[in-house]
């Protein structure tokens, strides 16, 4: 685990909002020199607190009007290997995230589609046919917000 202080947290907070922000302008806001901010960002990257960048795109403007969260239960545990399921589900482009979970379901998937008929196609042709896929629960996303967490 990495020790971060209040200044690191402020830098992270700024970069989570806007990754393209220069270390100079972050420095100006925090009253630090540009090299000092740069060194801290480098440290946060080197020790794995910052794992990368992500592009934020407007899903609807890309014609992907529907996002659905799926809970998937494997039908026959032990008989299908988790690796087979994971490999197959990861290869589906409409599945943007896959998490292995404990509880009511085995996997949590986020699926994007153009519209509901398109989602039905993805669900029937690609999700239901996955090796070992059993019960599936779908919840259609209405709104979503990301918080900055305990930074």
């Amino acid at each position: 685990m990495i020790e971060v202080d209040e200044i690191d947290r402020k830098i992270l907070r700024a970069l989570v909002r806007d990754a393209s922000k220069s270390s100079r302008s972050i420095g100006e806001e925090l009253g630090l020199s540009q090299p000092a901010v740069w060194r801290r960002i480098k440290r946060l990257k080197d020790n794995g607190a910052i794992v990368g960048r992500r592009l934020r795109l407007d899903r609807e403007k890309l014609g992907l009007g529907v996002m659905v969260f799926l809970g998937v239960k494997l039908a026959a545990k032990g008989r299908v290997s988790l690796e087979d399921f994971e490999r197959a589900v990861t290869a589906i482009p409409e599945v943007v995230s896959v998490e292995h979970v404990l509880g009511l379901y085995d996997y949590r998937l986020k699926v994007v589609a153009r519209d509901i008929p398109d989602f039905e196609r993805v669900l029937r042709r690609r999700i239901m046919t996955l090796p070992g896929a059993g019960q599936v629960e779908a919840n259609v996303l209405l709104s979503e917000e990301y918080r900055y967490g305990p930074l």
Partner: protein, 151 residues
């Protein structure tokens, strides 16, 4: 509307948000100037909303990640608004989604360890208003987390 070149840029850019515009242009077989112009247009039209750094909460000492699937008591017309307003004040809540389906709201909660989770759950989550039912899914592993949209 987006054309094939725009989509090519978005695909390459999503796959490698760290690259320079010159490098991105090369990957898309474009000149730097035309790639830059198209990026400007994608930003001004709001297709590209921005960039964010991805924080590894585990590296920052938050080892526990739980997805709470919540059903609200919808006999109260203000249930959603009041619940969401209160949920936003909990610092350990990273994501808030609302759904059409069996689940009304999902909260993604992080905690340092199980003791800390228990504390957050009891004192902050259970005191949120209008909860009818809660199911928890505990995250074990991220299998696919890039969240790149199929453009």
């Amino acid at each position: 509307m987006l054309d094939d070149v725009d989509r090519r840029i978005l695909r390459q850019f999503q796959a490698a948000p760290d690259v320079s515009i010159a490098e991105l242009a090369e990957r898309c077989s474009l000149t730097t100037a035309s790639c830059w112009r198209r990026l400007e247009k994608l930003e001004s039209s709001g297709v590209i909303l921005g960039q964010e750094v991805v924080v590894d909460w585990q590296a920052l000492g938050f080892a526990v990640e739980v997805s709470l699937r919540i059903t609200l008591d919808k006999t109260q017309t203000t249930a959603f608004d009041e619940f969401l307003a209160k949920a936003r004040t909990v610092p350990e809540v990273l994501e808030i989604q609302t759904f059409l389906g069996r689940v009304d709201v999902r909260l993604l909660v992080i905690a340092r360890d199980m003791t800390h989770y228990q504390e957050v759950y009891r004192s902050r989550i259970l005191s949120l208003p209008h909860i009818a039912d809660i199911e928890a899914l505990m995250h074990v592993a991220r299998i696919k987390s890039h969240e790149a949209l199929p453009v």
